[in-house]
């Protein structure tokens, strides 16, 4: 991340960051507390993942499948916003802008065996791991068939024991220590599973981040810490969250590698997370992968982002829309044309429609069951 006083970023993301479209994180406009002005002066210790090229060594079928997930996550997210504006869904946490990073990461794992600990923005990752649009809509509308919680938990708190999506907490970063536990269990039991733990750069300020990284480093656990750095934690810009440019730089202090990757480049993330997962599977321990992304929408449906970031900044980032970027790449390598794109779009639209209809027709949870699941046998 380039700040006014910081060194220019290096490597593959340099292109993106020097194109002039990646704005300041708000530090320039903000009077930093305690006159702390050294933001950006830190030394980069993480490596920078190279930009992807061509088809990334993947067949066209796989590329289209990836594209479909990005498009589905986007369309589903859009529909949830519509339902919210219409007063039918009380709460939205949007993942728009993060989708390519998440689909890239998800496809880099063994989807039939690995374990993911998603953040609340990680709809796209959970779809890749097998959650359906219908499952998601049931949770958004708090209906009885909601497979995440039967209407007990807020939306966007994904969890499916069957799909190895570890149920997530509202309390940010609590998933990071959990991930060291799932990774430890996998190592002890020899399951070969890698755990992918997702979090924001804001969550990385919590003690849990340090405690998890330290434990994972000591035991060389098969875990990939996946930071989705979108430069803001609600309103708080990165410069008030940490005095360094990259969360991944901290990995050095725990004895494992940190990698920074352009999170709008799906195939670059796929490769970076793939290498981290392979390292974990070889028994070499954790990796911290930091994907630089941007959130296109307000933090949640309760947020007004105009108070802390300029709409010009949001617009500038739209030029790096991961969905558009991936589509352009697929067309470039001949994996997508107007016809296949239209087919995918129609399929996605139908799936979102059917999911919404099913959820709206589904009953609310039976109030007589409200005290179920407190204890075993309840």
């Amino acid at each position: 991340m380039a700040t006014e006083t910081g060194p220019a970023p290096t490597g593959a993301i340099q292109g993106a960051f020097q194109a002039g479209v990646v704005p300041q994180d708000g530090a320039a406009a903000f009077r930093a507390p305690l006159d702390h002005v050294d933001v950006g002066a830190g030394t980069i210790t993480a490596s920078v993942a190279p930009a992807s090229a061509g088809d990334g060594g993947l067949d066209h079928e796989t590329l289209r499948e990836m594209y479909r997930f990005v498009a589905l996550a986007r369309a589903l997210d859009e529909r949830i916003w519509q339902l919210n504006r219409a007063g039918r869904a009380p709460f939205v946490v949007s993942g728009q802008g993060h989708e390519a990073a998440l689909v890239g990461a998800g496809f880099a794992l063994d989807r039939a065996n690995d374990v993911v600990l998603p953040y609340y923005r990680d709809l796209a990752l959970c779809l890749v791991f097998g959650l359906s649009a219908r499952d998601v809509m049931m949770s958004v509308l708090a209906r009885a068939p909601d497979p995440m919680s039967g209407g007990r938990q807020m939306p966007a708190h994904y969890g499916s024991a069957r799909l190895r999506i570890v149920s997530s907490s509202s309390v940010v970063a609590s998933q990071l220590p959990h991930a060291t536990g799932t990774a430890y269990a996998a190592k002890l039991r020899g399951t070969g599973q890698v755990s992918l733990a997702c979090f924001g750069e804001g969550a990385a300020s919590k003690g849990d981040f340090h405690e998890a990284c330290n434990f994972a480093g000591i035991h060389r656990l098969p875990v990939v810490f996946f930071c989705e750095n979108n430069r803001y934690a609600i309103s708080v810009p990165q410069s008030l969250q940490m005095a360094i440019d990259n969360v991944a730089d901290r990995a050095a202090g725990y004895g494992f590698p940190g990698v920074v990757v352009d999170g709008t480049d799906l195939l670059a993330v796929h490769r970076a997370v793939g290498e981290a997962a392979a390292r974990a599977r070889r028994g070499e321990g954790p990796t911290l992968v930091e994907a630089k992304v941007y959130r296109f929408h307000p933090h949640t449906s309760d947020d007004d982002d105009r108070t802390y970031r300029s709409q010009d900044e949001v617009k500038a980032w739209r030029a790096w829309d991961p969905l558009a970027r991936f589509e352009a790449r697929l067309r470039e390598v001949g994996a997508l044309d107007d016809r296949t794109r239209a087919e995918i779009a129609a399929g996605v639209a139908a799936e979102v429609e059917a999911a919404t209809d099913a959820a709206e027709a589904a009953p609310f949870p039976d109030p007589a069951t409200f005290d179920r699941y407190v204890y075993d046998g309840g």
Partner: protein, 326 residues
């Protein structure tokens, strides 16, 4: 007297005190440019600057610890918990440190610290955003715990809290931020440890604090239509606790129903019931009733959530029981 919202009254108290005393500083997540996720600190950054309005990283334990350090060395910090639910992360600093420093330093050290934020639920935020923590924090000697329900009280008790030489757990009724009431201008402090009779009555004493006070006032209206005269007491202060006002009321009405949103076991209502039986046993005509949140983590779906919180119907039924009308 000017009319203002609970939110405005709260901000007014803090801003007035920051104006008056430049050792008062504020720390919390999103309290700066954003003005707080519940819009309590709106405009304070512009007024007092970033040295006194400190937007923190997401590190509840860390910034509460920092505030304790500030308090031990002469500042009067106000910490905003985005919601009290996140204070569990700072519980070690609050309970193991703030509450005990005066004691284990043999009185050398004081911690004039206010920790504030919205408490309780009812707005579909589910289990991890809905705790009512007055019983939890009320348990610990060394802490003062208050839970104002009206704009006048939130202003007056915040002034008292900031000036208090000990750590204060300031539990705001999050669901009431938009409610309005008369608030006196100027230095209208409200002392801790003094309950408020919110409505006078003769047949039964209804006791609550926070947003349940408003529910009780509604219930009292309903009961009045049925010919039952209910007295409503707003505790306001959990620790120190005003036993005298409650006992005096029960001596008059001979019956009491205590209502709270938090869970029943080991709760404020349990304590109130115990105090009544200790100090007014001979005056009671019926066992003290407790109406509490159901023994489940708060659910998300609206219909489940409603089933988990005390309702008007439950309170009326409890009143009928203590009046032997069932």
């Amino acid at each position: 007297m000017p009319v203002m919202t609970y939110r405005e009254a709260l901000k007014t108290a803090m801003a007035d005190e920051m104006e008056r005393d430049d050792s008062v500083v504020m720390l919390g997540e999103d309290i700066g440019v954003y003005g707080g996720t519940h819009v309590i600190t709106d405009g304070l950054l512009e007024r007092f600057g970033p040295k006194r309005i400190i937007d923190t990283p997401i590190a509840e334990g860390g910034f509460t610890g920092a505030a304790i350090g500030m308090a031990m060395t002469g500042l009067r910090p106000i910490v905003e918990m985005m919601t009290w639910n996140f204070s569990f992360l700072a519980a070690d600093q609050i309970i193991q440190n703030a509450a005990k420093l005066r004691y284990f330093s043999g009185g050398q050290v004081t911690v004039p610290l206010v920790i504030r934020g919205p408490n309780g639920g009812g707005v579909q935020l589910s289990a991890q955003h809905t705790h009512s923590l007055e019983g939890f924090y009320g348990h610990f000697p060394g802490l003062k715990v208050v839970s104002p329900a009206t704009p006048a009280d939130v202003k007056g008790m915040m002034l008292t809290a900031i000036r208090d030489p000990d750590p204060v757990i300031f539990l705001e009724a999050g669901a009431l931020y938009g409610t309005k009431g008369e608030v006196a201008d100027g230095d209208a402090t409200v002392p801790f440890g003094k309950a408020r009779v919110a409505r006078e009555g003769t047949d039964v004493t209804l006791i609550a604090y926070g947003r349940q006070v408003n529910l009780l006032l509604k219930v009292a209206e309903t009961l009045a239509a049925e010919g039952v005269s209910a007295e409503v007491i707003d505790l306001r202060s959990i620790r120190p606790f005003d036993a005298a006002t409650i006992v005096e009321s029960v001596r008059k009405t001979h019956r009491a129903v205590v209502v709270q949103e938090q869970w029943r076991w080991f709760s404020v209502a349990s304590e109130v019931a115990a105090v009544i039986q200790e100090e007014a046993f001979d005056d009671l005509d019926a066992p003290v009733e407790r109406v509490s949140g159901a023994e489940v983590p708060a659910p998300y779906a609206r219909n489940l959530e409603l089933a988990a919180f005390p309702s008007e119907a439950q309170i009326v039924a409890a009143v009928q029981r203590v009046l032997y009308r069932t």
